[in-house]
């Protein structure tokens, strides 16, 4: 595929992706998706949250995981950044701390794919991360 340099190139790419996208769109029920929130406040960004978020977006897409990766503010665990919150369909959210690329890969392979808990879970003593 030639490089995308302009909006015209992007339009061509869009046409090529469209059929594939239609299939994916149909499965975009939020309740059926794995929701991943990456803490992207100053503490998270300074600790490498951007690279972790880029990795999670790429890796979940490549591995065919129906997921949505988005960002959130500071969850108050600055000492354990980067932090991510993973919500599996029908389950309570789980927050992982000190998530580097290796840990992110482990979370995908073990927790998301197989439902196994992995090291690095921050104990559930918080109410919500939506009000920060």
């Amino acid at each position: 595929m030639a490089k995308v340099k302009s909006l015209a190139d992007l339009k061509k790419i869009k046409e090529e992706l469209h059929a594939k996208m239609d299939l994916r769109e149909k499965s975009n029920d939020p309740d059926a998706q794995v929701q991943i929130k990456v803490g992207m406040a100053t503490c998270g960004i300074a600790s490498g949250a951007k690279e972790v978020m880029e990795f999670l977006i790429e890796a979940t897409a490549k591995r065919g995981i129906n997921s949505i990766v988005t960002q959130t503010g500071c969850m108050g665990y600055c000492y354990a950044e980067p932090t991510i919150e993973v919500t599996m369909p029908g389950k309570e959210p789980v927050v992982f701390g000190d998530v580097d690329l290796k840990k992110a890969d482990e979370v995908i392979e073990k927790y998301i794919k197989q439902g196994e808990l992995v090291d690095g879970i921050i104990p559930v003593n918080y109410k919500t991360i939506d009000n920060n």
């Binding site: 490089k3 340099k5 992706l17 469209h18 996208m21 951007k50 977006i57 897409a61 960002q71 500071c74």
Partner: protein
């Protein structure tokens, strides 16, 4: 912060929290004038005079999860280390504008870093918002406007990983021509 694109990511998070629908980022770099400036303007809540006066205090934040707010003070410190400065103006209900200037050639000026990746993450994570990123150098100007991008993409979401990858490539390619 490792580079300026991370500062930009961080500062724009404030615009996201302020429920801005439009964020305009302008980066101007001129080796001739020894200038590197970053301007971020949003149409979010804005800040009262009282909050604005405390905004660059590292021990002030509007967050409830912690007691420090380092984003603005770190950027200000970085700008001042190169002989530059940072200014913020804000009006409640109108929005906030921040401008940080650096000496282009100063050894302590952090590199810009992965600005294409930063923009694409912001766009993908906030698909309901619009971003206009203008980059001006001595050699020319590039404008990335998500309104135009969304028009081209039509019903395809900007948060799709494939689209994000292509958008990053498009921004990088255009910046390389400046």
């Amino acid at each position: 912060m490792k580079d300026l694109s991370m500062h930009i990511m961080d500062i724009i998070q404030n615009s996201v929290r302020a429920e801005a629908s439009l964020v305009e980022l302008k980066i101007t770099e001129s080796q001739k004038e020894d200038l590197f400036s970053i301007s971020i303007k949003d149409n979010g809540f804005g800040m009262s005079e009282e909050v604005l006066a405390k905004a660059i205090d590292p021990f002030f934040t509007t967050r409830t999860t912690r007691k420090v707010g380092l984003g603005l003070s770190l950027l200000k410190q970085n700008a001042e280390m190169t002989g530059g400065k940072m200014e913020i103006s804000s009006k409640v209900g109108v929005g906030t504008e921040l401008k940080a200037t650096f000496s282009h050639k100063h050894l302590d000026r952090p590199a810009l870093g992965d600005i294409a990746g930063t923009m694409v993450l912001l766009v993908g994570a906030n698909p309901e918002m619009d971003f206009v990123y203008t980059h001006i150098t001595d050699g020319g100007e590039y404008i990335f406007d998500t309104k135009e991008v969304k028009e081209v993409l039509d019903d395809m979401p900007v948060s799709d990983p494939n689209i994000m990858r292509y958008l990053k490539e498009m921004i990088k390619e255009n910046l390389n021509t400046l």
